[in-house]
Amino acid sequence: MDSFPKSWRKSTKPHSFCPGCGHPIVLKALGWAVEELKIQNKTAFGIDIGCSLLAWDFFNLDTIQTHHGRTVPVITGVKISRPDAVAIAYVGDGGAYAIGSQHLLSSLYKNINITVIIVNNANYGMTGGQEAPTTLPYQLTSSTPKGADNYYLDGIKMAASIANKNAYVARGCTDNPVQLKIFIRKALQNQIQKRGLSIVEALSYCPTNWKTDAKKTRAFIENLKKIYPIGEFVNNNEK
């Protein structure tokens, strides 16, 4: 058995993500799901601004990097034009829940047949670790040096409350890549079966901006899991 999925582009490895970053784990899970479903050649892989953009040459997949928060509408435009394609929007928590939130909302209540993968590390990583919609209270970030505000958004809870019953909404974590792969695979299958929107949020490590060592990174994510529970929240697909 291979160590990496077929779509793994060798010439761009080692990748540019930080040591300990969760993105490569999520991407690998995605790569395996794509392989298992044999959809490499019909996948359109959209990426956002932010750390997700470092995945632009990660795969042998047709990839389009968009403006911040706009990956969902671009990939929707692709999907409407090419319903046979598998359209994936790979975004961060900022792109999903702040600048792109209205697009996510629209795709939820319209039940658009795309897959959105949200890599949630509870901060704006690429710009140096500012407060994001999912940053927990009191967290020290570069835009909240005295501690993050007393509000946060559970985007999956919001999504699950609006999602169509034929959608698929789940949250996994980079500490369980196998489960993550299963969720992503189910999400993609939801799209292939034309049931509508699928969202998988992946709680993800960011030791660089959390300013944590390996042990504290694991502890940080355990804390995130308490507020943002892991599981499948909309999953009515009998198959």
């Binding site: 359109a44 953009l53 990097q65 509408p73 929707t76 435009g77 692709v78």
Partner: protein, 351 residues
């Protein structure tokens, strides 16, 4: 007795007919006066033709990015907006400019800035030609009547797809609402569209070059510079093929030159008829505001003693003209009426 082969339509209806004649099959938009009827008109056609695509977006940014997604797959997609919607649209249009995407946008100018009026203006010249955080590598057509609205909307699609460049039809609330007669011809041939992604189904999973990885980001300054120079050189190269202008009553005896675009050019032409064609007043009309037909204009300046610029803006056409004729010593009288129409009689009186 009806005129031979002529139809009696509003500008909004003309845009739809032209788009379909050009082979457009996708529209994405958001309601905003006075461009909304274009979206409603498309929705009507879409409801009867399952081969077309349509989605009313949640805002203009989404509309523009949906259009980009469609264009990436080789669909002839367009949008229509104005005013603050045009402002929001600059987000996706910047991406289209950087990545040389064949987008088509019909802009129905209304009074600005901000919410302004819902009716008419020529105040989105700056925004449409140079909006976004780029250098204005775009093509902007400015039709002066309903027939030209039809002609240039068709042309916009063909220009966009031939040169892979964001293309605009810059019209206004008056022209879109005006009902008049025109000839709805079917163009002999349209440029074929080609996808930029998902080009072929059979690919070698291990072969990098079988896949397309598109970005608009550069980590290194020099790479960004190179990308800019590439766009600049392309624009320089294609400009002569795209620039267009129109002259009326211009010859070597002409002493006074009116410069106007869009609907105001029509008023100016009528003004010259009112004054009398023998009065040595001529008209120069840039049909493309971008690229501006500089060579054509410079050719006409020979014996001109006075230039008059008329526009329904403070000084947007004015700026384009002055840039084009930099160094010329011909005095310029500028008449700017932001958000207001200018009738032929008014122009005639002011000359």
């Amino acid at each position: 007795m009806k005129k031979d082969k002529k139809s009696f339509l509003t500008g909004n209806e003309v845009v739809i007919k032209a788009a379909l004649a050009a082979g457009a099959d996708s529209f994405y938009g958001y309601p905003i006066t006075p461009a909304t009827e274009i979206m409603d008109g498309w929705a009507e056609v879409y409801s009867k033709n399952s081969k077309l695509n349509f989605l009313q977006a949640e805002d203009e940014m989404s509309a523009g990015f949906l259009m980009i997604g469609a264009a990436l797959t080789g669909k002839k997609a367009f949008t229509a907006t104005t005013g603050v919607g045009n402002v929001l649209m600059q987000d996706p249009l910047s991406m289209a400019e950087a990545m040389e995407l064949p987008t088509v946008a019909v802009i129905g100018q209304r009074g600005g800035p901000s919410t302004g009026s819902v009716i008419y203006s020529q105040q989105e010249v700056n925004l449409t030609c140079y909006g976004g955080n780029g250098e204005g590598y775009r093509v902007v057509y400015s039709p002066s009547n309903l027939q030209e609205l039809y002609d240039y909307t068709i042309k916009a699609f063909n220009t966009a797809w031939k040169y892979l460049i964001p293309t605009f039809v810059l019209t206004d609330g008056y022209l879109l609402k005006t009902r008049s007669e025109l000839n709805l011809y079917q163009p002999k041939a349209n440029v074929t569209s080609k996808p930029l992604i998902l080009k072929k189904a059979n690919r070698n999973p291990n072969k990098e070059s079988d896949y397309v990885n598109l970005v608009n980001t550069y980590a290194i300054e020099e790479e960004c510079y190179e990308a800019n120079i590439k766009l600049l050189n392309k624009f320089k190269k294609i400009s002569p093929e795209i620039e267009e202008s129109y002259s009326y009553n211009l010859n070597r005896q002409t002493k006074k030159l009116i410069i106007a675009h869009g609907l105001i050019a029509s008023a100016a032409e009528e003004a010259i008829n009112i004054i009398g064609k023998n009065k040595k007043v001529g008209l120069f009309v840039p049909k493309t505001l971008r690229p501006f037909p500089q060579k054509d204009l410079l050719k006409q300046l020979g014996k001109i003693k006075q230039i008059y610029i008329y526009e329904s803006a403070a000084n947007q056409l004015d700026r384009l003209v002055k840039e084009a004729i930099y160094g010329s010593r011909i005095p310029i009288k500028h008449f700017g009426y932001p958000a207001l129409g200018i009738e032929a009689e008014t122009i005639a009186k002011l000359i």
